[in-house]
Symmetry: C2
Subunit: 343 residues, 2 copies
């Protein structure tokens, strides 16, 4: 990376069904130079997230799809290498949607904006890829603002061992709720129970979901933080309490579908139980991120929130690493380490 080369992965073809490594094209370009108002950022960590799959498809979505030939979009934690912008100095740690590449321009007319991380850092830099980053803020606002859990209520979260779900469950515990996590392996169930303090965990691959939810949620379900949609949502709808809230954060079970996936068979329960289903995207909460980061940071320091990271070394492995998001074997936040943290 000191070779003057900027390695990139660009979107070559849109996936049909599962992502394939061949959907990306490797390119080498010269490291760009910032113009007036611009900043050159070196990528340290590249975040891989289920929502990346949405961006790769040319479907109606919450922001523009990545165009064929564009650098693949991705959230990056990086360091300013060169600045022609008075608001940023070399060595500033920043985050932004800078893409799958070693270097990116930001600010000015670059089309990308960046946010400076706090100095000194209140936690390891990697925490900003997870609980202090977009996934932590997603958990925080989705659960608290939209789910509005009250102490004593039962909160169920799917993809519970993922970067968002694991934080959702722990915040719900802090708020005094009974917390039930749904995940895809016994090993991950043990992690939720033994390390993160969940009250119950369900392996949806081996359990009869309706039976397991009935056993785990003797008082019904008040909040269901939905990361997956599909059949898990259907099972949850059989157990929701009156006026339950369903923050709709993701529909990962449907992202790789090649045909339209209908809504839940038990959709009518939304009427019968007067349920509120509300979609949200963390970008809408940008003005309030400091609120989330402040409180989550405190919980991290108090040991009330734990997190797992799966760090893949090397930008060259991003196209294969992203497949881990969908194979059910990942725990916590998936990150590609692209270059070293500043010493």
């Amino acid at each position: 990376m000191n070779s003057g080369i900027n390695r990139q992965f660009r979107l070559k073809t849109r996936p049909i069904g599962d992502i394939k490594e061949s959907n990306f094209e490797y390119r080498e370009e010269p490291i760009p130079s910032p113009k007036d108002g611009e900043v050159l950022v070196r990528t340290i960590y590249l975040s891989l997230d289920p929502t990346n799959r949405i961006w790769m498809s040319d479907i109606p979505q919450y922001m523009a799809a990545v165009e064929i030939g564009q650098v693949m979009r991705g959230v990056v934690i990086g360091v300013v290498e060169e600045s022609k912008n008075p608001n940023f100095q070399p060595r500033d740690l920043v985050s932004g949607m800078l893409g799958w590449q070693d270097y990116a321009l930001a600010e000015g007319n670059s089309g990308s904006s960046i946010t400076r991380l706090p100095h000194p850092l209140p936690a390891p830099l990697t925490a900003f890829t997870g609980p202090l980053g977009a996934t932590g803020c997603t958990a925080y606002f989705g659960l608290l603002d939209i789910g509005q859990p009250k102490a004593g209520e039962t909160v169920v979260v799917s993809a519970a061992s993922g970067a968002v779900g694991s934080v959702v469950g722990q915040i719900a515990k802090i708020r005094g709720c009974r917390v039930v996590g749904i995940t895809g392996s016994d090993e991950k169930c043990h992690w939720l129970l033994d390390e993160l303090g969940f009250d119950a965990a369900i392996n949806y691959k081996t359990a009869d979901l309706e039976t397991a939810l009935a056993q785990s949620c003797p008082n019904g379900i008040d909040v269901y933080f939905d990361n997956v949609g599909g059949s898990i949502l259907d099972a949850v709808l059989t157990r929701v309490n009156l006026h339950a809230r369903i923050p709709l954060c993701g529909l990962i079970s449907t992202y790789n579908a090649t045909e339209p996936v209908p809504g839940p068979l038990n959709y009518s329960q939304i009427l019968m139980k007067r349920v509120r289903v509300e979609g949200f995207i963390i970008l809408d909460y940008l003005p309030r991120w400091s609120e989330a980061i402040g409180e989550i940071g405190q919980w991290l320091n108090e040991g009330k929130i734990k997190y797992a990271l799966e760090i893949v070394e090397g930008l060259e492995n991003a196209p294969s690493a992203i497949l881990k998001l969908f194979d059910g074997n990942k725990k916590g936040k998936l990150v590609v380490k692209v270059s070293d943290e500043p010493t």
Copy 2:
């Protein structure tokens, strides 16, 4: 009815698909006598509503299903004939869920409660079967509390010429919204446009719904008051604006289905557009009914809200009349006149 006989229709069998007259059993019983604390009410108007179909099925629902052999449940406007309850006097006009019969006991240990209508009446008694009754309150709270329309926004309502939908659209107009109604005939479209002041009306039986919505809603859809579910909801979801609200009032398109009906194919738009879908049942708003009735009553007197009634004469016709709710030929509120109003 002065014969001392209480004519009744009881639920004989649960409908499979469409309601059939044979689902009801005609019975004649003696007129009951009130015990201490009870009131004898003579039925004047029997309200027929789509939600009656839900009560006839043994599915999970918002209140207990009607049991086989029970008098069919229905909302009644009646007059007190005899009272052993100090809160009610003979000739009081009341409403309550008193069922498909000439006479019913209420209050005390009867298992039924009644509400006295205001005296003097601020509007014709029939208005209390519609805009000043459950359907008017449903429109009021569903639109204003859950839909939260703002002036200038676009409100779409399905089953727009029905008892609820027609009031929803008129309240939305009062609040300064652009209002688009979806209904099932050109004649009903004309009524919405020419009599009720809707901005646009779509005949879903002849129009291409997505195209028609695109034309009628050039600024997208901010509130969709859903009475029907199904394919209309799917079409609406292709046009919703960011942070749209969908008060889920009914799913009439699915009530007669013999197989589970999945949720909308475009369910993912709830996430992408950060939509709020919220089911509600008017019973939850009972403590606030006077608020709705006060404001709707004023609008009625000012001529800002109009309503249509379809009055079927004679309790004996209730089992055939209820079919009109589902054949798409009804306009406004469907009511059975069981006996004469007091003079």
